[in-house]
């Protein structure tokens, strides 16, 4: 019958139309941004950010300004100036730290190469995309203060990766402390046969053997 | 200047416009427009005489105009079909172009 196709079509759309009122949850597929938000996949990545331990972004900053990421970055959008002074890192070994660390987000293409090459887990990819700004020049050039975010943020957005990083860092810390303790004991043993007073100065600040910083898993 | 004579003057002038177009203009479409005008001028006469005539109840003028309307529409259709056929043959809608029959 010629008209039957039309009637079936009309019935189908009528079902949709009525369904959208009776039980909107199943029928209406729209997520009304910005009130409702879509749950982002775990390894979604937008732009990099610097991770710092503890609460003080200056002291706890993991970045040691080794500038590998600056060299590796394909669009060259990272700009680092190494500071002269040093500060102890998480195992207590004095390291340099970046005086200036800029990333031009308008150039960055979110390729995550900087995260892969960073030996110190200092830079990770953030999931924040609401960065619209009216200032075309300085608006998207983020400086160190704006890039630094606590490790807790990193754990919130990338839980699995953060977990692995933390366990690895904890293992390194113990290895370094064990090495330091062993070195202290060795120093104490070698100092004891000569004279007991010699071991007091080394024991206080034993030169920590530089920890073989495990290269982060590729 | 009774309304009847006003209508007649108007239809004369319309008829003159139509005739002028037919005689003067070279383009076939304008000739057809002229013919349409002439037909409608005649129609106007019929309606004017029916309206101001002795017994309008007879409706003769009106009926004549109605039939003339239908015929004019049919004539326009056939006329335009002829123009398109002539155009396809002579590649131009100029009335003077179709003159093969001239001796």
């Amino acid at each position: 019958m010629t008209g039957s196709g039309i009637l079936q079509g009309l019935a189908e759309t009528a079902k949709n139309f009525v369904g959208s009122f009776t039980h909107p949850a199943e029928n209406l597929a729209t997520i009304e941004y910005p009130e409702q938000r879509q749950k982002l996949a775990e390894n979604t990545r937008q732009f990099p950010f610097l991770v710092f331990d503890g609460t003080d972004p200056e002291a706890g900053l993991r970045c040691v300004a080794c500038q590998i990421c600056e060299k590796e970055c394909p669009p060259q959008c990272i700009y680092i100036i190494k500071s002269k002074a040093k500060k102890p890192d998480f195992v207590g070994k004095p390291q340099f730290f970046p005086a200036v660390f800029d990333i031009d987000l308008s150039v960055c293409m979110s390729c995550q190469i900087c995260v892969e090459v960073c030996p110190f887990d200092a830079i990770k990819m953030d999931q924040d995309f609401e960065l619209a700004t009216s200032d075309r020049f300085q608006g998207l050039l983020f400086h160190k203060d704006r890039l630094a975010k606590p490790n807790s943020h990193f754990q919130k957005i990338h839980p699995t990766e953060a977990g692995e990083t933390d366990t690895r860092r904890a293992a390194d810390l113990e290895k370094a402390q064990a090495a330091a303790a062993k070195a202290a004991a060795a120093a104490a043993a070698s100092a004891k046969p000569v004279a007991t007073p010699a071991n007091s100065p080394e024991a206080k600040n034993p030169p920590p053997a530089s920890p073989a910083a495990g290269t982060p898993p590729m | 200047m009774s309304p009847l004579s006003a209508c007649l003057v108007l239809s004369c002038l319309l008829f003159a416009c139509g005739l002028g177009a037919v005689l003067i203009r070279r383009n076939a479409i304008v000739v057809l427009i002229g013919i349409e005008l002439m037909l409608n001028a005649a129609n106007l006469n019929f309606v004017a005489f029916w309206r101001y005539g002795p017994n309008p109840e007879a409706l003769t003028g009106l009926m004549f105009a109605l039939f003339a309307l239908a015929i004019a529409a049919a004539e326009a259709a056939v006329g335009l079909a002829l123009i398109i056929a002539v155009y396809r043959r002579h590649r131009s809608s100029d009335v003077d172009a179709a003159d093969e029959l001239r001796g």
Partner: protein, 170 residues
């Protein structure tokens, strides 16, 4: 001679004059539509309501589109080249002569002095009854004629099977 009639007559005449004198064919066709619509309104003003509206429906609705389609198919939209006509004076003289003759006849005829009769009441039922009683044969004739005209027009305008496709003008 009401003001409305003069206005409508002016509109119709002006549009008719424009329809025949304009060089651009599409404008001419549209002016023809204007004049025919004006004529329809004059019919309504002459209490021939049914005829006036039928005129608008037939002409403004259908015949105008017919003429405009013909203008398109005959590629009349290119600006006309050359003079409007080869022998304007002869045609013009005949037209003016005829118009003068008609106008003289109109002004002389005795009937025009008669008083204007009251407006007749035209009911569509009366028209219908006339059509189906006194004018049955012409009605069937018109039906036949219109069918023949439509078929004829279609056949003439259709390209012959196998005739060469319309080549572009030289």
């Amino acid at each position: 001679m009401s003001v409305l009639f003069v206005l409508l007559a002016g509109l119709t005449l002006g549009a008719a004059w424009a329809a025949v004198t304009l060089r651009n064919l599409v404008h001419a066709a549209l002016c023809l539509i204007g004049s025919l619509a004006g004529l329809g309104l004059i019919y309504i003003q002459l209490d021939a309501e049914f005829l006036g509206l039928a005129q608008i429906l037939v002409y403004v609705g259908a015949v105008a589109i017919l003429i405009v389609f013909a203008v398109m198919l005959v590629r009349g939209t290119e600006p006309l080249v050359g003079r409007l006509s080869t022998s304007p004076w002869l045609g013009g003289a005949i037209t003016v002569l005829l118009a003068a003759l008609l106008l003289w006849a109109v002004s002389k005829s005795p009937r025009l002095r008669a008083p204007t009769p009251p407006a007749p009441t035209v009911t569509v039922k009366a028209i219908g009854q006339q059509l189906t009683r006194d004018y049955v044969v012409p009605l069937q004739g018109i039906g036949l004629l219109l069918t023949a005209a439509t078929l004829g027009a279609a056949l003439i305008a259709l390209p012959r099977r196998g005739s060469n496709p319309p080549s572009t003008p030289p």
